[in-house]
């Protein structure tokens, strides 16, 4: 395998047969408890009315976004985006606030109510199998896929491959590589014959969501300071006004003051 600058996956919905080998492989490789999973099947199920039917599935796990929302939402820096692709989670730092779960547009991070307090690992998600990819192996889900619906490689090369496949069969695919631009780009790329929204994928702008949110967040202090200044100014103004008013009223009502003094 050529050197991989940016690790990525390519999923082709036309090839997926919903056999779930990837799910079992992930469960074994990562020793996932029996009631948990890091890979899900989504899709349209069986659509239509007999005998005019359509069926399609998509498997997905962490999209390993180039601009991860989980990471920007995390108040303690438990998430890291590696330069070569993987988004990883550090359970030692996590405080279990679950902001990442709300932030992720794909609903990937899952909260582990059993393990949290005891083991300190509150969140579970795909790790990109670092124990495999940095040893020259494919991630467990990709390695086992009997139909090559899941492929692994360098992101640029996979994007080129995805476009080439669409170009070779324009009648078969929707002319779009999901994840090439969505949310500023993800490391899990999807091509499909079924509209992406029907597969269950959110329609996302090309500008990463977190770029907007981070810009907002960056403005917090200047905004707080300037809003504080405005408020201080208003407060000062009100104070001055009242003071002036009191002075004027004092001049007009001397008796009252005298009464109080009594």
């Amino acid at each position: 395998m050529a050197e991989i600058k940016h690790h990525a996956y390519l999923f082709d919905a036309t090839r997926c047969i919903d056999c779930r080998a990837c799910m079992v492989a992930c469960s074994v490789e990562n020793n996932i408890p029996m009631d948990k999973t890091r890979i899900w099947v989504a899709g349209i199920g069986i659509k239509g009315e007999y005998p005019e039917l359509e069926r399609g599935t998509m498997v997905y796990h962490c999209m390993h976004c180039d601009h991860p929302d989980c990471m920007s939402a995390c108040p303690v820096g438990a998430y890291t985006k590696a330069e070569d692709g993987p988004v990883t989670y550090n359970p030692d730092v996590c405080i279990g606030c679950r902001y990442c779960m709300n932030a992720c547009p794909f609903g990937v991070p899952h909260f582990d109510y059993d393990k949290g307090i005891i083991d300190g690992a509150f969140i579970d998600k795909c790790t990109f199998c670092p124990q495999r990819i940095y040893n020259g192996e494919e991630p467990a889900c990709v390695q086992t896929c009997p139909t090559d619906a899941l492929e692994y490689g360098d992101r640029e090369e996979l994007i080129a491959k995805a476009h080439a496949r669409i170009a070779a069969h324009p009648d078969r695919y929707i002319d779009h590589v999901y994840g090439e631009k969505e949310n500023g780009g993800t490391s899990y790329l999807i091509i499909s014959h079924i509209p992406f929204s029907e597969l269950g994928l959110p329609t996302l702008p090309e500008t990463p969501v977190n770029e907007v949110s981070e810009k907002v967040m960056e403005m917090t202090i200047p905004f707080a300071l300037s809003w504080g200044a405005v408020l201080s100014g208003v407060a000062a103004g009100v104070h001055m006004y009242n003071k002036n008013k009191e002075e004027k009223e004092g001049e007009a009502k001397p008796e009252k003051k005298a009464e109080v003094e009594k």
Binding site: E29, M34, P51, R55, T144
Partner: protein, 727 residues
């Protein structure tokens, strides 16, 4: 589907159960020693070991990751033609089979009533003595034929056969008549081989699948081949009353009426012959019986087939034309059992013949070679004793063209119950679950009741073991050696990747021990498993250590010296037999003919069964990893039909046939013909020793009626009709 799943981590769970037994006996870690000697494991016991999967009969090559003497991950071996580096979900879950908390890890001897599940632990010596003495007693009292032997096709089968043939019993049950007898007998009659190989090359243009749900009933490399063929733009036409995952990827799905696929294929033969679309050169040079075939199929027009199949005549005609246009780059797939009726032998024959007419030999179909390799050695052994007793399964006296090695298992069961032509008294079962796999479960339990003695060899307390007198714990496929498997120009090795847990032992060891106790030691002339393999490898001049390290040995096939002047087949005529004299001489039609299949009455449904990707037959439902990712087993019914009957998804329903009644949950779906219901087979286990599978789903075999095709001996499951009502 988390109801019966332990919340504990499955690896820890496996460790706990294994450890409990391992304490009692400290065996030297032979596997680790051998693997270290072969350079596979380091000093810590960590490393990668190549072996072969046994989660189904496809036998993918695998590479096991071993850490600290425990297998932690399986991957497909890229060197193996059956896996090409991939594994299906069953293959991936394989280590959960080995670390199943319900493993039987010591020999067990029954102490309660049969089926009560009360056993005591026994030593191997005691258990083997009990088994051998009971077998000998039956032989001495009633003759060797009173012992029945049955086992599902597997790599240690030659030694199993040694045990039964040396013992002197003709009664041999395999799983094949429960599955694909019609296909095998059809190919034997047509091509002189059980199953020609299929070639999915880049030129393959057209594939016709008759119920072969290749994307759910996964054969790893062939499933990959099909998806890649679709990817390249090959057309796939798929016949199935259900909209399966294969249907969803096919170019064209035809929800044909069950049992009527024969009419469809006869009409294809008719069009291709009457319009002279066949490969004239191939037919004249390499086939016999074209005229007889032509005369017979003349009456099977597309217009005739249309009302039977529910497929318009124009569609049938178009498909015949498309096949002829794409020939020879076409594949009419035999599948396993087509629609599985008593007429399915003729369907299979029509399919085998269609391929010949389309001239696809050596293009998309070829001689695949067998699993036996002439280049491998074997321990010496004396000839088997002569057996004069009739076989209880009617081969060949009732089923003259069914091979002895294949047999008619359901007939064997029926004649155990009837005691005709004689009464069987003992049953030796290895790696098989006949209580679940033969139709009409209550009848199989009745057959068990006729037995003086039943012994089962398995790794878990399957339902058959549950009803046995002695259970012998076999080492799992990750814990043992098996005889070598030739695949193409290599022979592959199954070797232990971890030490056997508890007191589990390999089949090679168990059969030899029994053989010696029965005075049949000459049929098992090997010191141990490694010695057996060394004797197999001797002619290749390769050391076992080398094979252990690589996982395989090169075994060059006999090279083809240029193009042979004449193609030939192992049939009586040496040609492809469109008309079979063999069939004709024993009173069966020599060419495929129409046989009207029975149809359900108005309030009945066809009961369909079919595989899913997360299970193999009746043996994997207790695997917690597969259980985790399986769909809940519910009986499928067409949504409109269900609505008419006032039934909705998740309603409990009562499903009845003439032999039984089950209660199960309903799935109302668009993905099935209105006149059919479908059940995933293998659920509804009786053994409480299967803690994950027990109580899940209902058993199809409890309601399947036994029908047998008189020619091939194949059971005809889809001929069972059921009524469904709210429970």
């Amino acid at each position: 589907m988390t109801k019966t799943i332990s919340r504990r981590d499955f690896l820890k769970l496996g460790a706990a159960s294994a450890g409990a037994v391992a304490l009692g006996q400290m065996l030297p870690p032979q596997v680790a020693q051998a693997a270290r000697a072969a350079g596979l494991l380091n000093a810590n016991g960590d490393g990668y070991i190549h072996s072969m999967c046994e989660m189904c009969v496809w036998r993918c090559g695998l590479t096991a990751k071993v850490v600290d003497g425990r297998v932690v991950k399986l991957d497909g071996n890229p060197e193996h033609a059956h896996s090409r580096g991939n594994l299906c979900p069953r293959g991936q879950s394989g280590l959960m089979n080995t670390y199943d908390p319900d493993r039987v890890l010591t020999p067990l001897v029954r102490v309660g009533k049969r089926g009560e599940g009360k056993f005591r632990q026994a030593s191997w010596d005691e258990a083997l003595d009990i088994v051998a003495s009971n077998m000998q007693k039956i032989k001495d009292t009633y003759g060797a034929e009173a012992m029945v032997f049955s086992s599902t096709h597997n790599l240690s089968q030659p030694l199993f056969e040694n045990l039964l043939y040396a013992f002197g019993s003709p009664n041999y049950g395999t799983q094949r008549s429960l599955c694909f007898n019609a296909m095998i007998v059809s190919n034997l009659m047509t091509y002189g081989m059980e199953e020609p190989g299929r070639i999915y090359d880049e030129n393959l243009k057209y594939i016709l699948l008759t119920g072969r749900n290749l994307l759910e009933a996964i054969s790893t490399s062939e499933t990959h081949d099909l998806i890649m063929a679709i990817d390249r733009g090959a057309k796939v036409v798929y016949l199935d009353p259900r909209y399966t995952k294969t249907a969803s990827k096919a170019t064209e799905w035809l929800p044909i009426k069950p049992g009527m696929d024969l009419a469809f294929h006869l009409a294809l033969l008719n069009i291709i012959i009457s319009e002279k679309l066949y490969d004239k050169t191939f037919v004249s040079r390499n086939t016999v019986g074209f005229d007889e075939l032509k005369t017979e199929v003349a009456r099977y027009t597309a217009e005739w087939a249309a009302p039977l199949t529910g497929i318009p005549a124009e569609t049938i005609t178009r498909i015949a034309h498309e096949l002829a246009d794409a020939a020879p780059h076409v594949l009419v797939h035999n599948g396993w059992r087509t629609s599985n009726f008593t007429n399915s032998f003729h369907t299979q024959r029509a399919i085998s013949i269609l391929n010949a007419l389309l001239g696809n030999w050596d293009v998309t179909m070829a001689d695949a070679g067998g699993e036996e390799s002439g280049t491998l050695g074997a321990p010496p052994q004396p000839p088997y004793p002569r057996v004069s007793a009739l076989r209880l399964d009617g081969v060949p006296w009732k089923y003259p063209v069914v091979p002895l090695k294949i047999g008619v298992f359901q007939e064997l069961r029926d004649n155990i119950v009837s005691g005709d032509p004689y009464q069987a008294h003992g049953w030796f079962i290895s790696r098989q679950n006949p209580i679940m796999s033969i139709p009409d479960r209550s009848k199989t339990i009745k057959a068990f009741g006729k037995m003086d003695f039943i012994v089962t060899v398995d790794i878990i307390m399957n339902d058959t073991a549950w009803f046995s007198d002695v259970v012998l714990p076999e080492a799992s496929y990750l814990e043992r050696y098996d005889p070598l498997l030739p695949v193409g120009d290599k022979v592959f090795l199954r070797q232990p990747v971890i030490e056997p847990q508890g007191e589990a032992k390999s089949a090679l060891w168990i059969y030899k021990q029994l053989g010696e106790r029965l005075g049949l030691g000459d049929y098992f002339q090997y010191a141990d498993e490694e010695d057996y393999l060394r004797q197999q490898l001797a002619p290749l001049g390769v050391s076992l250590e080398e094979v252990k390290a690589k996982g395989y040995a090169e075994a060059p096939e006999t090279p083809h010296e240029g193009e042979p002047a004449e193609l030939s087949w192992n049939t009586p005529s040496g040609k492809v037999e469109l008309f079979s004299d063999t069939l004709s001489r024993v009173g069966f039609p020599g060419v495929p003919v129409w046989e009207e299949p029975p149809q359900p009455s108005e309030n009945q449904f066809y009961l369909l069964t079919g595989k899913v990707a997360q299970a193999t037959q009746f043996g994997t439902q207790n695997n917690q990893l597969l259980h985790k990712y399986s769909d809940e087993p519910r009986i499928w019914m067409n949504a409109q039909t269900a609505a008419k009957l006032g039934l909705a998804t998740d309603d409990w329903v009562e499903v009845s046939s003439e032999v039984g009644t089950i209660h199960t949950k309903l799935l109302a779906t668009q993905a099935i013909r209105p006149d059919c219901v479908y059940m995933t087979p293998g659920y509804g286990h009786l053994s409480k020793g299967l803690k994950t599978a027990f109580g899940v789903g209902a058993s199809d075999s409890a309601i399947h009626v036994t029908y047998t095709d008189p020619i091939s001996g194949s059971q005809a499951l889809s001929q069972t009709f059921v009524t469904v009502k709210k429970a």
